[in-house]
């Protein structure tokens, strides 16, 4: 089965449609699928619902989809770094569903694992719990959250092979393994695409069964907060 493609545009061929839901890996600008986001911008797909911890910055990451008004709704935990996001949100052009960060990660994990809902203590007694089922276990109250199954998931890994096996690097892993599992189709972009068998099977983070399409691309890897110490 062919999984390998030559570019984001090629890998996205035939999978995009208006109104679709996309789950994206990345934390801030770290470990984001830069090439796929640009590919979706170039394809001009509209009315997207995007599940991603953050929304990029104005001119990079998911921010570029907001610039082109391609996003209808975001499921995120923190969006403070994006002024265009705030403008569209305050003017009512963009809908946002805030999800606690761990709830968002678990919703992706659960959705990908065939679990439609789960109970968590996170958010009990807050606005997040409003309208959700409450249930007590061992004297403590939990709320039900639903798993996310997206039409497409887009992830970024460090190394991958032609079978779709992925290895992430340092904190660029973040939401990527969870997002990878929850898409009906998952496309992965990697810094280095290797022949099958080149990765140590014991060190694979995302097994190829979750990855339908894979390609190698260059990455800018922009840094949001460059903090250094003297010495």
């Amino acid at each position: 089965m062919k999984k390998v493609y030559n570019s984001a545009a090629e890998a996205l061929e035939g999978v995009l449609f208006d109104g679709m839901m996309i789950a994206a890996g990345g934390f801030g600008l770290c470990g984001i699928p830069e090439n796929l986001i640009e590919g979706i911008r170039d394809a001009g797909t509209k009315n997207l619902t995007v599940a991603s911890n953050n929304a990029g910055v104005d001119d990079f990451g998911l921010g570029i989809l907001l610039q082109d008004k391609q996003v209808k709704k975001m499921l995120s935990s923190y969006v403070g770094e994006n002024a265009e996001f705030m403008r569209q949100y305050l003017s009512g052009e963009l809908e946002i569903e805030f999800n606690p960060q761990g709830t968002l990660a678990e919703r992706m994990r659960a959705g990908g694992a065939g679990i439609p809902g789960f109970y968590t203590k996170t958010g009990v007694g807050t606005v997040i719990a409003e309208g959700k089922e409450h249930k007590d276990f061992n004297g403590e109250t939990y709320i039900m959250e639903e798993g996310i199954v997206a039409d497409l998931s887009i992830v970024k890994a460090w190394k991958g092979d032609r079978a779709g096996n992925l290895i992430y690097r340092k904190t660029a892993r973040n939401f990527n393994p969870n997002a990878a599992t929850c898409g009906k189709i998952c496309i992965a972009e990697v810094e280095e695409l290797l022949p099958t068998g080149a990765l140590d099977p014991d060190l694979i983070h995302t097994p190829g069964i979750f990855v339908h399409r894979i390609f190698e691309g260059g990455h800018e890897k922009r840094i949001e907060q460059r903090t250094v110490r003297e010495g």
Binding site: F27, C30, P100, G102, G123, E224, T227
Partner: protein, 209 residues
């Protein structure tokens, strides 16, 4: 006289016990890493997927793939491990993290915490704060005792939307240290040069002692 930011962080550092896994929030809580007592070995968790967070990098060590939850570049240690966001919050929600030290806008005498949104103002999101306060063993808040208008941030009841209900165990302010107990807050330490009367005057919450 009262404690400054560094003295508050130093006081919070004394809450750290050998072997603890700890999550530090952004702002004054981050300073606590400078005041880990001698002989106490703690491992810092960063909820974007790292245990064993090291200091900021030198210029030539900067790595775009290595950031903390505040999106700042950092370094790793010998003990460091990396994991997914779902695994990270499994640790947090699963009670494996002994303590979280966070900032706050308001804390109520019943332990309610508000630190993520002000109605009518820009909402940036709660990030991992709701998961942390719901899941970790102990929640310690470090914050100024009063807001910019001089009003108490230790309240009988929070006025802002909650991050968690009944989740705070202890509060360290520039005036002292307060423990959430049955019936209100117990003053367990007073900052240098501050009197209990001054604390009473500047506190809306019920003080049990």
């Amino acid at each position: 006289m009262a404690w400054d930011r560094n003295q508050m962080a130093e006081r919070a550092g004394r809450e750290l016990k050998d072997g603890m896994y700890v999550n530090l929030g952004i702002g004054i809580p981050t300073l606590v890493s400078n005041y880990i007592p001698e002989g106490v070995d703690v491992t810092l968790q960063s909820e974007n997927g790292m245990l064993g967070m090291g200091p900021f990098p030198k210029e030539d060590e900067i790595d775009a793939d290595l950031i903390n939850a505040g999106k700042q570049t950092i370094t790793e240690l010998h003990r460091t491990s990396y994991f997914s966001s779902a695994d990270s919050f499994a640790m947090i929600r699963g009670g494996k993290i002994a303590m979280a030290i966070l900032g706050a806008m308001e804390v109520a005498e019943n332990g309610d915490l508000a630190n993520w949104m002000i109605p009518g103002k820009l909402i940036k999101g709660m990030g991992g704060a709701m998961d942390l306060v719901a899941g970790v063993g102990r929640v310690i808040v470090i914050m100024d005792h009063t807001n910019k208008k001089g009003e108490s941030k230790l309240l009988k009841a929070c006025t802002l939307p909650l991050t968690g209900a009944g989740v705070v165990d202890e509060i360290i302010t520039n005036l002292g240290v307060f423990k959430v107990v049955e019936g209100g807050l117990e003053v367990i330490e007073i900052a240098d040069g501050v009197t209990i009367d001054e604390i009473r005057q500047m506190t809306d919450a019920t003080l049990v002692n």
